[in-house]
């Protein structure tokens, strides 16, 4: 079998991982909070896409137009109501709060939507492009990847060219100095959390047509998002993007050339090696915030 097949397949899957990782990294960068509810926010995105498809008959990829603002608003409100209360508290309090919020979300979903996994089957759910050389590329995975690229590009322009984006980056670099320069850091936190939630929900909606939708489905992605963030450097958006692709490719390669049972081992050995030689992650800054 061609070497290109797992490489391409890994890059495409990695794109969606990257999107989940970027959301988490953004929240960590601006607010210095590890968001343990990130996986559950992804799960909400999956359900939004599912209901948009079954009730409103909107294609899951088109439904992003509705999902992104809804999720942003949800994240914004969540930050205003809960997260900002612990922003200056020790990490263990923040972790407890986000884990608690996540548990409430997943268990509410369990009550409301039952534990039957929902399957979102579109006309292209199990179709593929066949390239010469016996390489097949999954249509939904390719679409997800392209949308991910567009979203990352928009995010990049937003962060580097707009005033709000620059204020977000300033808050991420040094919260106190940003405040002294007249940036409304409380508002920046809410925006960052809203964006993080929107990115998580988008990742969920993008994966929905190729995955299954379940109240606990976010949990397996939470660990991945963390690994990606730390690998790329906590708080680094570029790092999370690259980290996602690396994890996707390593997983695909190790399932092809070793066994799929070993892919987590390979991923975490690589992860430990990165931490050993570059404790700040691939794109992380030395030291970071205290």
């Amino acid at each position: 079998m061609s070497f290109l097949q797992p490489l391409l397949s890994g890059i495409l899957t990695g794109g969606v991982y990257a999107l989940a990782g970027i959301g988490m990294s953004l929240v960590f960068g601006v607010m210095n909070i590890s968001n343990f509810a990130h996986g559950d926010l992804m799960m909400l995105g999956m359900y939004l896409a599912y209901f948009a498809f079954t009730l409103l008959h909107i294609d899951p990829y088109l439904s992003l137009v509705l999902i992104i603002p809804t999720a942003f608003l949800f994240g914004y409100v969540l930050e205003k109501l809960f997260i900002n209360r612990v922003i200056n508290h020790p990490h263990q309090n923040q972790i407890l709060l986000t884990i608690g919020l996540g548990l409430i979300m997943s268990n509410t979903a369990l009550l409301a939507f039952t534990s039957d996994p929902k399957i979102l089957t579109t006309s292209y759910s199990s179709s593929a492009f066949n390239l010469p050389g016996g390489i097949s590329i999954s249509v939904p995975l390719l679409l997800s990847f392209l949308i991910t690229c567009v979203i990352i590009a928009i995010l990049y322009i937003f962060l580097s060219k707009t005033t709000t984006g620059m204020a977000l980056r300033a808050t991420s670099q040094n919260r106190e100095a940003a405040q002294l320069m007249g940036i409304n850091v409380a508002k920046m936190s809410a925006i960052a959390f809203g964006l993080g939630t929107a990115l998580a929900a988008t990742a969920g909606a993008l994966i929905a047509p190729t995955y299954y939708i379940h109240p606990l489905a976010g949990h397996s992605f939470l660990l991945k998002a963390f690994t990606i963030c730390v690998l790329g450097g906590l708080g680094s958006v570029v790092g999370a993007g690259v980290g996602g692709i690396i994890i996707g490719v390593v997983e695909a390669m190790s399932s092809t050339y070793l066994s799929s049972d070993w892919k987590d081992v390979v991923v975490f050995v690589l992860f430990l090696a990165v931490l050993l030689f570059r404790p700040q992650g691939l794109f992380g800054k030395m030291g970071g915030q205290s």
Partner: protein
């Protein structure tokens, strides 16, 4: 004063066993209500609910103490210990998964409270000679045996295994390999995977490249849909997909006709089998819960019924154990008898069925005495 007190105590002691006898029988039920196996757990819960109602109609009052293990063996063990020490139940039905049931089984003899396993397949559970462990369903070796027997006539030559890295997956494939060897099948691939991953394409592509006649799969609920969807996407089409239980036997899987049509699976129970009350159970279940019952529901129903009926006639866990050992039953799971044979202890020698999804419906296709339809072979898209 002392005398009156002594009298009161004596009266209380005398009254107590009478009270205990007329009170409802107390039975524990350990199940995966949350966690990865929650979907199948719900089927077991529904089956148990129906059993309690039917028992009530027969005049047997049951107090069912439900515990959730979340699919985690250490929670299952804690639940069992709580049930026998704090709730003082007569017997325990459950847990669902092989991993949980195996751990709980290892402690049943210590607490001397009978455990009736309704649907866990790992062979070891009833192979250690535990006196207090009983199992209603057929163990893992029967899953693969019955599946391979069903396709034997078509003389397949090669086989590939794709399975979840769980107790159930590993033990089913281990016995499948032995059965494959006996049939002279050549194993070309062995792909064990971690559950809940979004991308199984690399493993499936590896299998496709080797072009096996049979692909033998063991997966829990949603992974089954994911695997078959990606198998279709990459164009994997062996002569037959053999799904061993669990994820390949749910109504939801059958509904995904585009990917599930002609998949063959082994099951403990179907509603078109000619066992007493099976069809009736199926139709009542559908009316009550609005979906098709899986075999897990039937297993839980029958396990609770057997446990409660035996417990209502027994005074303590020790006599309940004797009643389970000596008794025989006939119901929706066919005839049930906990016997000792070929290394098993207290194991019901349950005949498994082979079914195939034909146009979104499970049809029993093997063994011949229980089936109405014929197996479609080879598999086609």
């Amino acid at each position: 004063m002392k005398k009156t007190f002594a009298l009161v105590v004596a009266a209380a002691l005398l009254a107590f066993p009478i009270l205990a006898y007329s009170a409802p029988v107390k039975i524990g039920f350990i199940n995966s209500i949350t966690g990865k196996e929650a979907q199948i757990g719900e089927n077991l819960t529904n089956g148990a609910t129906m059993a309690i109602e039917d028992l009530k109609a027969k005049g047997i009052q049951v107090e069912l103490v439900k515990e959730d293990d979340g699919g985690d063996p250490k929670n299952a063990l804690a639940a069992y210990e709580k049930l026998v020490t704090r709730d003082a139940v007569m017997g325990v039905v459950g847990p669902y998964t092989s991993g949980c049931a195996n751990v709980v089984a290892s402690r049943a003899d210590q607490y001397q409270v009978p455990l009736l396993v309704p649907a866990a397949a790992k062979e070891e559970i009833t192979m250690k000679g535990y006196k207090n462990v009983f199992r209603l369903n057929a163990p893992a070796n029967v899953y693969s045996k019955v599946l391979m027997d069903a396709v034997k006539a078509y003389k397949p030559k090669t086989i590939a295994f794709v399975y979840a890295a769980t107790d159930f997956g590993v033990s089913t494939v281990k016995t499948a390999q032995e059965n494959a060897l006996k049939m002279g099948l050549k194993e070309v691939a062995n792909e064990k995977y971690q559950q809940g991953q979004p991308d199984y394409r690399p493993s499936l592509l590896k299998v496709k490249a080797l072009n096996p006649d049979l692909v033998f799969l063991v997966s829990y609920d949603a992974d089954a849909i994911l695997l078959m969807r990606q198998a279709k996407e990459i164009g994997l089409a062996p002569k037959a997909f053999l799904g061993a239980g669990a994820g390949y036997t749910t109504a939801q899987f059958a509904q995904q006709t585009e990917i599930s049509n002609f998949v063959v699976s082994a099951t403990q129970w179907t509603d078109d089998v000619n066992w007493t009350g099976a069809a009736d159970f199926g139709s009542r279940y559908k009316t009550k819960f609005g979906k098709e019952p899986s075999y897990h529901a039937a297993c839980a129903y029958e396990a609770i019924r057997i446990m409660a009926e035996s417990a209502s006639k027994s005074k303590n866990p020790a006599s309940l154990r004797a009643a389970l050992k000596a008794g025989s039953w006939s119901g929706i799971m066919g005839s049930v008898k906990f016997a000792d044979y070929s290394g098993f202890t207290n194991q019901n020698n349950h005949p498994m069925l082979v079914q195939q999804i034909q146009n979104g419906k499970y049809e029993t296709v093997y063994p011949a005495p229980f089936s109405k339809k014929k197996l479609v072979y080879p598999f086609k898209r």
